[in-house]
């Protein structure tokens, strides 16, 4: 299967710190992959590079088989086709939930106001936020904000959606509403790459789990593999810590 989004030998260095070290992975249409690992293991940086929000120091990124940086494509056009959900929802604070979702539809995809409004409502319905369409971010709970963040990303009909620890900043009781939305998306066949510590979510929906530590992929395999007999001691210990 050809990957929609793929990286080969991706390395990202900040000053003297090697955040991501020679990572290769790909994600195919309809797949859900979960990246997990201790904080500071490079998950976020990897995702931001794949989302074309940061330029890798070394290595290549392929979108639908084309080397993004070598082919000098318009990054903005590609970014519009890759959805991104942030840990901190990063909603635009001067716009309502609806306005947040409409912004990209109008000003990136060039839809008319009515068309953008219709699509934005659809996306808000998917995340069960249509009743809150006219509320400003500050009037919503963290979980609700994150669901709007997801709606904002999926409304653009991206070919792949990257999730950067979308529940990490939320209280326990708010996590589930976000996870439920993500599970729903996975079941609908959305192509997703999710960095998260929610291993039970991973077990239910992931086609593949990827364990990262210190900027490298230590081990990858099916959820069953990780939950029954991980190859490495590091992965086993980490899973034990998270699952308690």
């Amino acid at each position: 299967m050809t990957s929609i989004l793929e990286c080969r030998g991706l390395t990202k260095v900040y000053g003297k710190v090697i955040a991501v070290n020679n990572v290769s992975l790909g994600i195919g249409r309809g797949e859900t992959k979960v990246i997990f690992g201790p904080s500071g293991s490079g998950k976020s940086t990897l995702l931001r590079c794949l989302g074309l929000l940061e330029k890798p120091t070394k290595g290549s990124i392929y979108f639908n088989g084309v080397d993004v940086y070598a082919s000098k494509q318009d990054l903005n056009k590609l970014r519009a086709r890759i959805g991104f959900v942030f840990q901190d929802p990063s909603l635009f604070r001067h716009l309502t939930a609806l306005g947040n979702v409409m912004l990209g539809l109008k000003h990136v995809l060039g839809l008319s106001d009515a068309e953008a409004r219709r699509k934005a409502y659809e996306a808000l319905k998917l995340v069960k936020m249509e009743d809150w369409a006219n509320y400003y971010p500050a009037q919503l709970s963290g979980g609700q904000q994150q669901r709007v963040g997801i709606a904002r990303a999926i409304s653009m009909d991206p070919e792949v959606v990257l999730f950067d620890e979308p529940t990490a900043a939320l209280d326990v009781e708010l996590k589930w509403e976000v996870i439920a939305v993500m599970r729903d998306l996975a079941e609908r066949g959305t192509t997703m790459l999710v960095a998260t510590h929610e291993l039970r979510f991973a077990r239910e929906v992931a086609d593949e789990m990827i364990f990262m530590d210190q900027g490298q992929i230590i081990e990858a395999g099916s959820p069953d593999h990780f939950f029954t007999s991980p190859n490495t001691e590091r992965a086993r210990k980490f899973m034990a810590k998270i699952l308690g």
């Binding site: 931001r48 929000l53 970014r79 519009a80 635009f92 990209g104 000003h107 400003y136 500050a138």
Partner: protein, 220 residues
Amino acid sequence: MLFLLNYSTFIISGFLITVEVTLIGVGLGLILGILAALGDIFGGRIVKIIVNVYVEFFRGSPLIVQLFIFYFTIPMITGVSMDVMVTAILTLALNSGAYQKGYLKGAMEAVFKDQLMAALSLGLPMWKIFLYVVIPQALRIVIPAWSNELASMGKSTTALIVIGVREFLNTGISITAQTFRPLETYAFITITYFIWIYSMLKALDILYNKVKIPGLEPII
């Protein structure tokens, strides 16, 4: 104070000049402030140095000296002399821009820090991010600071008497010279400034409450 009625057209024209230079000065200052803030955020080393020298000069020296420099020194050096009103408005705009740069930069940086990645991830080009995400928020955040700036510019325009602009305070000086009644004249002038500037502050308060959005609290 009834004698002032004899000078009413004179007084009104002086007052209108004061209002005019204040509003144009702050308006142009807003544009200069945005440009200077952008230069300081995104510019290279040279641009940053230029912006900071500009800001420190205009914030650090009295408006009177700035007016003298623009009215006398610069025409002397360049050989180009400008109309006194143009000089006045230009100097006020540069002065106001230096002050406005400070809080516009803070507001814009706050928005960038918070939401730049999110805006980029949607595929918005930089200029659209600036237009649809940064400016609408930054301008709301700075309205309270901006109303201070408008008040302070309104008061500062009195400095224009040193280059002979016939603004509101200057009409008071002329009337005093003719009537020898400084107490009533200056009291009238001072109270009129108060009424005008205070109403401007109130008006901006109302505007602020109209465009206020929950969660977009002002800095300063």
